[in-house]
Protein backbone atom coordinates (compact mmCIF):
# COMPACT_ATOMS: atom_id res chain seq x y z
CA UNK A 1 0.00 0.00 0.00
CA UNK A 2 2.71 2.41 1.04
CA UNK A 3 4.65 1.28 -2.01
CA UNK A 4 1.79 2.29 -4.23
CA UNK A 5 1.48 5.64 -2.58
CA UNK A 6 5.18 6.25 -2.96
CA UNK A 7 4.95 5.46 -6.67
CA UNK A 8 2.01 7.64 -7.49
CA UNK A 9 3.76 11.01 -7.69
CA UNK A 10 6.48 9.43 -9.83
CA UNK A 11 3.92 8.07 -12.28
CA UNK A 12 2.21 11.42 -12.55
CA UNK A 13 5.59 13.08 -13.00
CA UNK A 14 6.38 10.66 -15.81
CA UNK A 15 3.08 11.43 -17.50
CA UNK A 16 3.66 15.16 -17.28
CA UNK A 17 7.26 14.84 -18.44
CA UNK A 18 6.16 12.98 -21.58
CA UNK A 19 3.45 15.55 -22.34
CA UNK A 20 5.89 18.43 -21.83
CA UNK A 21 8.52 16.85 -24.00
CA UNK A 22 6.12 16.21 -26.88
CA UNK A 23 4.63 19.69 -26.64
CA UNK A 24 8.11 21.19 -26.72
CA UNK A 25 8.99 19.12 -29.76
CA UNK A 26 5.85 20.31 -31.52
CA UNK A 27 6.74 23.88 -30.62
CA UNK A 28 10.10 23.42 -32.35
CA UNK A 29 8.46 21.86 -35.39
CA UNK A 30 5.30 23.89 -35.91
CA UNK A 31 4.72 22.27 -39.31
CA UNK A 32 3.51 19.10 -37.62
CA UNK A 33 0.72 21.08 -35.98
CA UNK A 34 -0.04 23.49 -38.80
CA UNK A 35 -0.08 21.12 -41.78
CA UNK A 36 -3.08 19.06 -40.64
CA UNK A 37 -4.81 22.32 -39.78
CA UNK A 38 -4.27 23.72 -43.29
CA UNK A 39 -5.40 20.37 -44.66
CA UNK A 40 -8.59 20.66 -42.58
CA UNK A 41 -9.29 24.16 -43.90
CA UNK A 42 -8.59 23.12 -47.48
CA UNK A 43 -10.87 20.08 -47.43
CA UNK A 44 -13.61 22.33 -46.05
CA UNK A 45 -12.97 24.71 -48.95
CA UNK A 46 -13.19 21.96 -51.54
CA UNK A 47 -16.83 21.15 -50.89
CA UNK A 48 -18.46 24.51 -51.65
CA UNK A 49 -16.33 24.60 -54.80
CA UNK A 50 -17.55 21.14 -55.77
CA UNK A 51 -21.25 21.35 -54.88
CA UNK A 52 -21.91 25.06 -55.40
CA UNK A 53 -22.37 27.99 -53.05
CA UNK A 54 -26.13 27.64 -52.40
CA UNK A 55 -26.91 28.46 -48.77
CA UNK A 56 -29.36 25.59 -48.18
CA UNK A 57 -26.97 23.04 -49.63
CA UNK A 58 -24.11 24.32 -47.51
CA UNK A 59 -26.20 24.27 -44.35
CA UNK A 60 -27.23 20.73 -45.19
CA UNK A 61 -23.75 19.32 -45.83
CA UNK A 62 -21.87 21.50 -43.33
CA UNK A 63 -21.81 19.20 -40.28
CA UNK A 64 -20.85 16.18 -42.34
CA UNK A 65 -18.12 17.97 -44.27
CA UNK A 66 -16.54 19.48 -41.18
CA UNK A 67 -16.55 16.16 -39.41
CA UNK A 68 -15.11 14.20 -42.32
CA UNK A 69 -12.42 16.86 -42.77
CA UNK A 70 -11.59 16.73 -39.05
CA UNK A 71 -11.35 12.94 -39.20
CA UNK A 72 -9.00 13.04 -42.19
CA UNK A 73 -6.86 15.79 -40.67
CA UNK A 74 -6.49 13.81 -37.44
CA UNK A 75 -5.54 10.75 -39.46
CA UNK A 76 -2.89 12.79 -41.24
CA UNK A 77 -1.35 13.94 -37.99
CA UNK A 78 -1.42 10.46 -36.41
CA UNK A 79 1.23 9.15 -38.69
CA UNK A 80 3.94 11.12 -36.91
CA UNK A 81 2.82 10.08 -33.42
CA UNK A 82 5.51 7.44 -32.90
CA UNK A 83 7.56 7.57 -36.10
CA UNK A 84 10.10 10.22 -35.13
CA UNK A 85 10.58 8.62 -31.70
CA UNK A 86 11.04 5.29 -33.43
CA UNK A 87 13.65 6.72 -35.78
CA UNK A 88 15.78 8.48 -33.18
CA UNK A 89 15.55 5.60 -30.70
CA UNK A 90 13.72 7.42 -27.93
CA UNK A 91 10.81 5.01 -28.32
CA UNK A 92 13.02 2.22 -27.04
CA UNK A 93 13.87 4.37 -24.04
CA UNK A 94 10.15 4.64 -23.30
CA UNK A 95 9.81 0.87 -23.56
CA UNK A 96 12.62 0.14 -21.10
CA UNK A 97 11.72 2.91 -18.68
CA UNK A 98 10.58 1.85 -15.20
CA UNK A 99 7.39 3.86 -15.63
CA UNK A 100 4.34 1.86 -16.71
CA UNK A 101 4.19 2.04 -20.49
CA UNK A 102 0.42 2.67 -20.76
CA UNK A 103 0.86 5.86 -18.74
CA UNK A 104 3.67 7.12 -20.97
CA UNK A 105 1.66 6.23 -24.05
CA UNK A 106 -1.31 8.10 -22.60
CA UNK A 107 0.97 11.10 -22.15
CA UNK A 108 2.01 10.97 -25.78
CA UNK A 109 -1.63 10.66 -26.86
CA UNK A 110 -2.68 13.61 -24.70
CA UNK A 111 0.11 15.68 -26.22
CA UNK A 112 -1.05 14.61 -29.68
CA UNK A 113 -4.60 15.66 -28.88
CA UNK A 114 -3.42 19.03 -27.54
CA UNK A 115 -1.48 19.60 -30.77
CA UNK A 116 -4.03 18.28 -33.27
CA UNK A 117 -7.47 18.03 -31.68
CA UNK A 118 -7.55 21.32 -29.81
CA UNK A 119 -6.40 23.49 -32.76
CA UNK A 120 -8.99 21.77 -34.96
CA UNK A 121 -11.74 22.57 -32.48
CA UNK A 122 -10.57 26.17 -32.24
CA UNK A 123 -10.44 26.69 -36.00
CA UNK A 124 -13.72 24.89 -36.72
CA UNK A 125 -16.08 27.82 -35.84
CA UNK A 126 -14.51 29.94 -38.61
CA UNK A 127 -15.11 27.25 -41.19
CA UNK A 128 -18.55 26.43 -39.79
CA UNK A 129 -19.56 30.07 -40.16
CA UNK A 130 -18.72 29.93 -43.88
CA UNK A 131 -21.19 27.04 -44.07
CA UNK A 132 -23.90 29.34 -42.60
CA UNK A 133 -24.05 27.35 -39.40
CA UNK A 134 -26.02 29.14 -36.64
CA UNK A 135 -24.13 30.08 -33.46
CA UNK A 136 -25.93 27.60 -31.22
CA UNK A 137 -25.15 24.77 -33.59
CA UNK A 138 -21.51 25.84 -33.74
CA UNK A 139 -21.34 25.33 -29.97
CA UNK A 140 -22.71 21.81 -30.32
CA UNK A 141 -20.28 21.13 -33.13
CA UNK A 142 -17.31 22.28 -31.06
CA UNK A 143 -18.44 20.05 -28.20
CA UNK A 144 -18.78 17.00 -30.45
CA UNK A 145 -15.45 17.75 -32.11
CA UNK A 146 -13.76 18.07 -28.71
CA UNK A 147 -15.06 14.69 -27.57
CA UNK A 148 -14.60 13.19 -31.02
CA UNK A 149 -10.97 14.23 -31.43
CA UNK A 150 -10.22 12.72 -28.00
CA UNK A 151 -11.69 9.44 -29.27
CA UNK A 152 -9.81 9.69 -32.57
CA UNK A 153 -6.45 10.44 -30.93
CA UNK A 154 -6.84 7.50 -28.56
CA UNK A 155 -8.06 5.13 -31.27
CA UNK A 156 -5.46 6.35 -33.71
CA UNK A 157 -2.63 5.78 -31.25
CA UNK A 158 -3.38 2.05 -31.42
CA UNK A 159 -3.11 2.09 -35.20
CA UNK A 160 0.01 4.26 -35.13
CA UNK A 161 1.62 1.85 -32.66
CA UNK A 162 0.74 -1.16 -34.81
CA UNK A 163 2.18 0.36 -37.98
CA UNK A 164 5.26 2.05 -36.55
CA UNK A 165 8.39 0.86 -38.31
CA UNK A 166 6.52 -0.56 -41.31
CA UNK A 167 7.05 0.69 -44.82
CA UNK A 168 3.98 2.14 -46.49
CA UNK A 169 2.71 2.91 -43.02
CA UNK A 170 0.48 5.84 -43.97
CA UNK A 171 -1.91 4.02 -46.29
CA UNK A 172 -2.03 1.06 -43.94
CA UNK A 173 -2.77 3.31 -40.98
CA UNK A 174 -5.78 4.77 -42.80
CA UNK A 175 -6.99 1.30 -43.70
CA UNK A 176 -6.77 0.19 -40.06
CA UNK A 177 -8.19 3.28 -38.42
CA UNK A 178 -10.98 4.45 -40.72
CA UNK A 179 -13.33 1.51 -40.09
CA UNK A 180 -12.68 1.82 -36.37
CA UNK A 181 -13.37 5.56 -36.50
CA UNK A 182 -16.67 5.27 -38.36
CA UNK A 183 -18.87 5.15 -35.24
CA UNK A 184 -17.22 8.34 -33.96
CA UNK A 185 -17.86 10.12 -37.25
CA UNK A 186 -21.41 8.84 -37.37
CA UNK A 187 -22.22 9.96 -33.84
CA UNK A 188 -20.48 13.32 -34.16
CA UNK A 189 -21.77 14.45 -37.53
CA UNK A 190 -25.34 13.28 -36.93
CA UNK A 191 -25.49 14.99 -33.56
CA UNK A 192 -24.57 18.29 -35.22
CA UNK A 193 -27.15 17.67 -37.96
CA UNK A 194 -29.81 17.01 -35.33
CA UNK A 195 -28.91 20.22 -33.54
CA UNK A 196 -29.12 22.09 -36.84
CA UNK A 197 -32.63 20.68 -37.35
CA UNK A 198 -33.65 21.79 -33.84
CA UNK A 199 -34.12 18.25 -32.68
CA UNK A 200 -33.05 16.45 -29.53
CA UNK A 201 -29.35 15.79 -29.88
CA UNK A 202 -28.18 14.88 -26.38
CA UNK A 203 -28.05 11.12 -27.14
CA UNK A 204 -25.13 11.58 -29.49
CA UNK A 205 -23.22 13.75 -27.00
CA UNK A 206 -23.65 11.17 -24.25
CA UNK A 207 -22.65 8.36 -26.58
CA UNK A 208 -19.52 10.25 -27.70
CA UNK A 209 -18.68 10.98 -24.07
CA UNK A 210 -19.09 7.33 -23.16
CA UNK A 211 -16.91 6.36 -26.12
CA UNK A 212 -14.24 8.84 -25.01
CA UNK A 213 -14.24 7.51 -21.43
CA UNK A 214 -14.06 3.90 -22.60
CA UNK A 215 -11.27 4.72 -25.06
CA UNK A 216 -9.41 6.68 -22.40
CA UNK A 217 -9.40 3.72 -20.04
CA UNK A 218 -8.77 0.92 -22.57
CA UNK A 219 -6.76 2.22 -25.49
CA UNK A 220 -3.49 3.02 -23.62
CA UNK A 221 -3.16 -0.67 -22.79
CA UNK A 222 -3.79 -1.70 -26.38
CA UNK A 223 -1.34 0.93 -27.64
CA UNK A 224 1.31 -0.15 -25.14
CA UNK A 225 0.88 -3.79 -26.15
CA UNK A 226 1.07 -2.83 -29.83
CA UNK A 227 4.25 -0.79 -29.26
CA UNK A 228 5.93 -3.70 -27.51
CA UNK A 229 4.99 -5.99 -30.40
CA UNK A 230 6.22 -3.54 -33.04
CA UNK A 231 9.57 -3.11 -31.29
CA UNK A 232 10.39 -6.74 -30.63
CA UNK B 1 -41.09 -17.81 -57.92
CA UNK B 2 -43.21 -14.91 -59.13
CA UNK B 3 -40.95 -12.30 -60.67
CA UNK B 4 -38.19 -12.89 -58.17
CA UNK B 5 -36.69 -16.10 -59.53
CA UNK B 6 -33.69 -14.38 -61.07
CA UNK B 7 -32.81 -12.62 -57.80
CA UNK B 8 -33.17 -15.74 -55.69
CA UNK B 9 -31.21 -17.99 -58.03
CA UNK B 10 -28.48 -15.38 -58.45
CA UNK B 11 -28.04 -15.37 -54.68
CA UNK B 12 -27.83 -19.15 -54.50
CA UNK B 13 -25.37 -19.15 -57.39
CA UNK B 14 -23.24 -16.55 -55.64
CA UNK B 15 -23.24 -18.65 -52.46
CA UNK B 16 -22.14 -21.66 -54.47
CA UNK B 17 -19.46 -19.59 -56.16
CA UNK B 18 -18.08 -18.35 -52.83
CA UNK B 19 -17.98 -21.85 -51.39
CA UNK B 20 -16.35 -23.34 -54.48
CA UNK B 21 -13.85 -20.50 -54.69
CA UNK B 22 -12.94 -20.84 -51.01
CA UNK B 23 -12.39 -24.55 -51.46
CA UNK B 24 -10.45 -24.12 -54.69
CA UNK B 25 -8.20 -21.35 -53.36
CA UNK B 26 -7.45 -23.36 -50.23
CA UNK B 27 -6.42 -26.35 -52.37
CA UNK B 28 -4.27 -24.23 -54.67
CA UNK B 29 -2.50 -22.58 -51.78
CA UNK B 30 -1.86 -25.89 -50.07
CA UNK B 31 -0.39 -27.34 -53.24
CA UNK B 32 1.84 -24.32 -53.72
CA UNK B 33 3.13 -24.36 -50.15
CA UNK B 34 3.72 -28.09 -50.34
CA UNK B 35 5.60 -27.85 -53.63
CA UNK B 36 7.73 -24.94 -52.44
CA UNK B 37 8.83 -26.92 -49.41
CA UNK B 38 9.44 -30.01 -51.55
CA UNK B 39 11.62 -28.07 -53.98
CA UNK B 40 13.61 -26.50 -51.18
CA UNK B 41 14.19 -29.81 -49.43
CA UNK B 42 15.21 -31.53 -52.67
CA UNK B 43 17.69 -28.74 -53.34
CA UNK B 44 19.14 -29.11 -49.86
CA UNK B 45 19.46 -32.87 -50.29
CA UNK B 46 21.32 -32.51 -53.55
CA UNK B 47 23.77 -30.05 -52.08
CA UNK B 48 24.53 -32.50 -49.29
Amino acid sequence: MSDNEAQQPAILAGLIAVIRRDLLLSWKRPGDVLNPLFFFAMVCTLFPLAVGPGATQLMFIGPGVLWVAALLATLLSLNSLFVSDFEDGSLEQLLVSPQPLPVLVLGKTIAHWLCSGVPLVLVSPLLAATYRMPTGVIGVMMLTLTLGTVCLSLLGSIGAALTVGLNRGTALLSLLILPLAMPVLLLGANTVSLAADNEMYSTGIWALGAYAVAALSLSPYATAAALRISNE
Amino acid sequence: MGNYGAYVWTCFALALAVLVYSDWSARVRHKRVYRDIEVRIKALEERE
Binding site: P183, S230 | N3, F12, A15
Partner: protein
Protein backbone atom coordinates in the same frame (compact mmCIF):
# COMPACT_ATOMS: atom_id res chain seq x y z
CA UNK C 1 -3.90 -32.38 -18.55
CA UNK C 2 -1.64 -29.67 -19.94
CA UNK C 3 0.70 -32.15 -21.58
CA UNK C 4 -2.33 -33.70 -23.23
CA UNK C 5 -3.36 -30.33 -24.63
CA UNK C 6 0.15 -29.59 -25.74
CA UNK C 7 0.40 -32.86 -27.60
CA UNK C 8 -3.02 -32.26 -29.12
CA UNK C 9 -2.03 -28.80 -30.27
CA UNK C 10 1.37 -29.84 -31.57
CA UNK C 11 1.71 -28.99 -35.26
CA UNK C 12 2.17 -32.53 -36.66
CA UNK C 13 -0.87 -33.67 -34.72
CA UNK C 14 -3.01 -30.80 -35.91
CA UNK C 15 -1.82 -31.31 -39.46
CA UNK C 16 -2.99 -34.91 -39.36
CA UNK C 17 -6.19 -34.29 -37.42
CA UNK C 18 -7.33 -31.46 -39.70
CA UNK C 19 -7.10 -33.74 -42.72
CA UNK C 20 -9.10 -36.44 -40.93
CA UNK C 21 -11.84 -34.16 -39.59
CA UNK C 22 -12.44 -31.90 -42.59
CA UNK C 23 -14.53 -34.44 -44.58
CA UNK C 24 -16.56 -35.25 -41.46
CA UNK C 25 -17.65 -31.63 -41.36
CA UNK C 26 -17.88 -31.11 -45.10
CA UNK C 27 -20.25 -33.91 -46.08
CA UNK C 28 -22.88 -33.47 -43.35
CA UNK C 29 -22.67 -29.75 -44.17
CA UNK C 30 -23.34 -30.40 -47.83
CA UNK C 31 -26.28 -32.67 -46.99
CA UNK C 32 -27.79 -30.02 -44.72
CA UNK C 33 -27.31 -27.30 -47.34
CA UNK C 34 -28.92 -29.52 -49.97
CA UNK C 35 -31.90 -30.12 -47.69
CA UNK C 36 -32.07 -26.43 -46.77
CA UNK C 37 -31.99 -25.36 -50.41
CA UNK C 38 -34.71 -27.81 -51.34
CA UNK C 39 -36.87 -26.96 -48.33
CA UNK C 40 -36.26 -23.25 -48.65
CA UNK C 41 -36.76 -22.84 -52.37
CA UNK C 42 -39.39 -25.45 -53.21
CA UNK C 43 -41.25 -26.39 -50.03
CA UNK C 44 -41.43 -23.29 -47.82
CA UNK C 45 -44.60 -21.24 -48.38
CA UNK C 46 -44.36 -17.81 -50.00
CA UNK C 47 -43.94 -14.90 -47.63
CA UNK C 48 -47.10 -12.76 -47.43
CA UNK C 49 -45.17 -9.48 -47.60
CA UNK C 50 -42.04 -10.12 -49.61
CA UNK C 51 -43.31 -12.82 -51.93
CA UNK C 52 -40.68 -15.25 -53.12
CA UNK C 53 -37.87 -12.72 -52.71
CA UNK C 54 -37.71 -13.66 -49.02
CA UNK C 55 -36.10 -16.95 -50.08
CA UNK C 56 -32.81 -15.05 -50.35
CA UNK C 57 -32.81 -15.26 -46.55
CA UNK C 58 -31.61 -18.86 -46.91
CA UNK C 59 -28.19 -17.72 -48.11
CA UNK C 60 -28.07 -14.19 -46.70
CA UNK C 61 -28.53 -15.06 -43.04
CA UNK C 62 -25.99 -17.91 -42.92
CA UNK C 63 -23.44 -15.72 -44.71
CA UNK C 64 -24.03 -12.78 -42.37
CA UNK C 65 -23.86 -15.08 -39.35
CA UNK C 66 -20.58 -16.63 -40.49
CA UNK C 67 -19.08 -13.24 -41.32
CA UNK C 68 -19.46 -12.31 -37.66
CA UNK C 69 -18.46 -15.70 -36.33
CA UNK C 70 -15.22 -15.63 -38.33
CA UNK C 71 -14.37 -12.27 -36.80
CA UNK C 72 -15.10 -13.68 -33.35
CA UNK C 73 -12.78 -16.60 -34.12
CA UNK C 74 -10.05 -14.14 -35.12
CA UNK C 75 -10.48 -12.13 -31.93
CA UNK C 76 -10.79 -15.10 -29.56
CA UNK C 77 -7.90 -16.87 -31.29
CA UNK C 78 -5.82 -13.71 -31.04
CA UNK C 79 -6.70 -13.32 -27.36
CA UNK C 80 -5.80 -16.93 -26.56
CA UNK C 81 -2.60 -16.60 -28.56
CA UNK C 82 -1.58 -13.44 -26.72
CA UNK C 83 -2.45 -14.60 -23.23
CA UNK C 84 -1.39 -18.25 -23.25
CA UNK C 85 1.09 -17.97 -26.09
CA UNK C 86 -0.49 -20.80 -28.03
CA UNK C 87 0.70 -20.53 -31.62
CA UNK C 88 -2.12 -22.66 -32.92
CA UNK C 89 -4.66 -20.04 -31.83
CA UNK C 90 -2.92 -17.41 -33.96
CA UNK C 91 -2.80 -19.88 -36.84
CA UNK C 92 -6.56 -20.40 -36.65
CA UNK C 93 -7.13 -16.65 -36.57
CA UNK C 94 -4.93 -16.13 -39.62
CA UNK C 95 -6.78 -18.88 -41.47
CA UNK C 96 -10.21 -17.48 -40.58
CA UNK C 97 -9.60 -13.98 -41.99
CA UNK C 98 -9.90 -14.65 -45.75
CA UNK C 99 -12.87 -16.95 -45.19
CA UNK C 100 -14.60 -14.35 -43.07
CA UNK C 101 -14.00 -11.71 -45.72
CA UNK C 102 -15.47 -14.04 -48.38
CA UNK C 103 -18.63 -14.61 -46.35
CA UNK C 104 -18.94 -10.90 -45.55
CA UNK C 105 -18.79 -10.20 -49.26
CA UNK C 106 -21.44 -12.86 -49.88
CA UNK C 107 -23.69 -11.32 -47.22
CA UNK C 108 -23.26 -7.89 -48.81
CA UNK C 109 -23.95 -9.13 -52.33
CA UNK C 110 -27.03 -11.15 -51.37
CA UNK C 111 -28.32 -8.31 -49.20
CA UNK C 112 -27.88 -5.92 -52.09
CA UNK C 113 -29.67 -8.27 -54.51
CA UNK C 114 -32.44 -8.74 -51.97
CA UNK C 115 -32.78 -5.00 -51.65
CA UNK C 116 -33.28 -4.53 -55.38
CA UNK C 117 -36.86 -5.96 -55.59
CA UNK C 118 -37.76 -4.79 -52.05
CA UNK C 119 -36.58 -1.19 -52.18
CA UNK C 120 -36.03 -0.69 -55.89
CA UNK C 121 -32.34 0.03 -55.34
CA UNK C 122 -29.18 -2.03 -55.22
CA UNK C 123 -27.91 -0.25 -52.16
CA UNK C 124 -29.86 1.30 -49.31
CA UNK C 125 -27.73 3.19 -46.81
CA UNK C 126 -30.69 3.27 -44.45
CA UNK C 127 -30.45 -0.44 -43.73
CA UNK C 128 -28.37 -0.78 -40.57
CA UNK C 129 -27.35 -4.38 -41.15
CA UNK C 130 -25.96 -3.81 -44.63
CA UNK C 131 -24.03 -0.75 -43.44
CA UNK C 132 -22.60 -2.69 -40.49
CA UNK C 133 -21.59 -5.53 -42.81
CA UNK C 134 -19.80 -3.06 -45.06
CA UNK C 135 -17.79 -1.71 -42.13
CA UNK C 136 -17.06 -5.29 -41.11
CA UNK C 137 -15.68 -5.94 -44.59
CA UNK C 138 -13.34 -2.96 -44.18
CA UNK C 139 -12.23 -4.34 -40.80
CA UNK C 140 -11.32 -7.60 -42.54
CA UNK C 141 -9.38 -5.70 -45.19
CA UNK C 142 -7.45 -3.85 -42.49
CA UNK C 143 -6.64 -7.09 -40.69
CA UNK C 144 -5.40 -8.80 -43.84
CA UNK C 145 -3.43 -5.73 -44.94
CA UNK C 146 -1.67 -5.56 -41.57
CA UNK C 147 -0.80 -9.24 -41.75
CA UNK C 148 0.52 -8.84 -45.28
CA UNK C 149 2.61 -5.79 -44.30
CA UNK C 150 4.57 -7.55 -41.53
CA UNK C 151 7.12 -10.07 -42.75
CA UNK C 152 7.85 -11.73 -39.42
CA UNK C 153 5.04 -14.23 -38.82
CA UNK C 154 5.26 -14.15 -35.02
CA UNK C 155 5.13 -10.38 -34.97
CA UNK C 156 2.26 -10.31 -37.48
CA UNK C 157 0.35 -12.77 -35.30
CA UNK C 158 0.56 -10.56 -32.23
CA UNK C 159 -0.11 -7.30 -34.03
CA UNK C 160 -3.14 -8.78 -35.79
CA UNK C 161 -4.38 -10.21 -32.51
CA UNK C 162 -4.36 -6.73 -30.96
CA UNK C 163 -6.15 -5.34 -34.01
CA UNK C 164 -8.78 -8.09 -33.94
CA UNK C 165 -9.45 -7.53 -30.24
CA UNK C 166 -9.82 -3.79 -30.72
CA UNK C 167 -12.00 -4.48 -33.75
CA UNK C 168 -14.34 -6.84 -31.93
CA UNK C 169 -15.12 -4.21 -29.32
CA UNK C 170 -15.68 -1.83 -32.18
CA UNK C 171 -18.06 -4.16 -34.02
CA UNK C 172 -20.47 -3.89 -31.10
CA UNK C 173 -20.24 -0.09 -31.13
CA UNK C 174 -20.69 -0.03 -34.90
CA UNK C 175 -23.82 -2.15 -34.55
CA UNK C 176 -25.51 0.10 -32.02
CA UNK C 177 -24.40 3.40 -33.52
CA UNK C 178 -25.53 2.41 -37.01
CA UNK C 179 -28.86 1.28 -35.58
CA UNK C 180 -29.28 4.66 -33.88
CA UNK C 181 -28.28 6.44 -37.06
CA UNK C 182 -30.72 4.58 -39.29
CA UNK C 183 -33.54 5.13 -36.77
CA UNK C 184 -32.93 8.86 -37.25
CA UNK C 185 -33.42 8.50 -40.98
CA UNK C 186 -36.37 6.09 -40.91
CA UNK C 187 -34.15 3.22 -41.88
CA UNK C 188 -35.70 0.15 -43.39
CA UNK C 189 -34.66 -3.32 -42.64
CA UNK C 190 -35.00 -6.51 -44.58
CA UNK C 191 -35.42 -8.78 -41.60
CA UNK C 192 -38.42 -8.06 -39.47
CA UNK C 193 -37.58 -8.16 -35.81
CA UNK C 194 -39.86 -9.80 -33.26
CA UNK C 195 -42.57 -10.44 -35.82
CA UNK C 196 -44.87 -13.43 -35.63
CA UNK C 197 -43.05 -16.71 -35.29
CA UNK C 198 -41.88 -18.15 -38.59
CA UNK C 199 -43.77 -21.03 -40.14
CA UNK C 200 -41.85 -24.23 -39.32
CA UNK C 201 -41.71 -24.99 -43.03
CA UNK C 202 -39.78 -21.74 -43.42
CA UNK C 203 -37.76 -22.02 -40.23
CA UNK C 204 -36.36 -25.56 -40.42
CA UNK C 205 -34.67 -25.09 -43.81
CA UNK C 206 -33.17 -21.84 -42.48
CA UNK C 207 -31.76 -23.59 -39.42
CA UNK C 208 -30.44 -26.36 -41.66
CA UNK C 209 -28.78 -23.78 -43.90
CA UNK C 210 -27.14 -22.01 -40.95
CA UNK C 211 -25.85 -25.26 -39.49
CA UNK C 212 -24.80 -26.58 -42.89
CA UNK C 213 -22.91 -23.42 -43.80
CA UNK C 214 -21.22 -23.48 -40.41
CA UNK C 215 -20.06 -27.07 -40.93
CA UNK C 216 -18.75 -26.28 -44.40
CA UNK C 217 -17.05 -23.22 -42.98
CA UNK C 218 -15.48 -25.47 -40.35
CA UNK C 219 -14.18 -27.81 -43.05
CA UNK C 220 -12.75 -24.95 -45.08
CA UNK C 221 -11.19 -23.48 -41.94
CA UNK C 222 -9.53 -26.78 -41.07
CA UNK C 223 -8.10 -27.02 -44.56
CA UNK C 224 -6.69 -23.50 -44.32
CA UNK C 225 -5.32 -24.17 -40.84
CA UNK C 226 -3.57 -27.20 -42.27
CA UNK C 227 -1.90 -25.17 -45.01
CA UNK C 228 -0.96 -22.47 -42.53
CA UNK C 229 0.61 -25.03 -40.18
CA UNK C 230 2.57 -26.54 -43.06
CA UNK C 231 3.83 -23.14 -44.12
CA UNK C 232 4.84 -22.07 -40.64
CA UNK C 233 6.57 -25.35 -39.89
CA UNK C 234 8.35 -25.48 -43.25
CA UNK C 235 11.82 -25.57 -41.69
CA UNK C 236 11.10 -28.22 -39.08
CA UNK C 237 12.18 -31.81 -39.10
CA UNK C 238 8.75 -33.39 -39.09
CA UNK C 239 7.74 -31.55 -42.24
CA UNK C 240 10.98 -32.55 -43.88
CA UNK C 241 10.57 -36.19 -42.94
CA UNK C 242 6.96 -36.20 -44.01
CA UNK C 243 7.73 -34.71 -47.39
CA UNK C 244 10.77 -36.92 -47.94
CA UNK C 245 8.51 -39.90 -47.31
CA UNK C 246 6.12 -38.50 -49.88
CA UNK C 247 3.28 -38.36 -47.38
CA UNK C 248 1.12 -35.58 -46.10
CA UNK C 249 -1.07 -35.11 -49.10
CA UNK C 250 -0.86 -32.37 -51.59
Amino acid sequence: MWTFFHRLASPPHIYRLAAIFAPWLLFPGLVLVAYGTYGGVFVAPTDYQQGDAFRIIYVHVPAAYLSMMAYMIMAVGGGIGLIWRIKLAHTVGAAAAPLGAAFTLLALLTGSIWGRPMWGTWWEWGDPRLTSELILLFLYFGYMALRAAIDDTLKADKACAVLALVGVVNVVIVHYSVEWWSSLHQGQTLLRKGGPAMDPAMLYPLLAMILGFTLIFGALLLRRVRTEVLYRERRTRWVREMIMAGQGGK
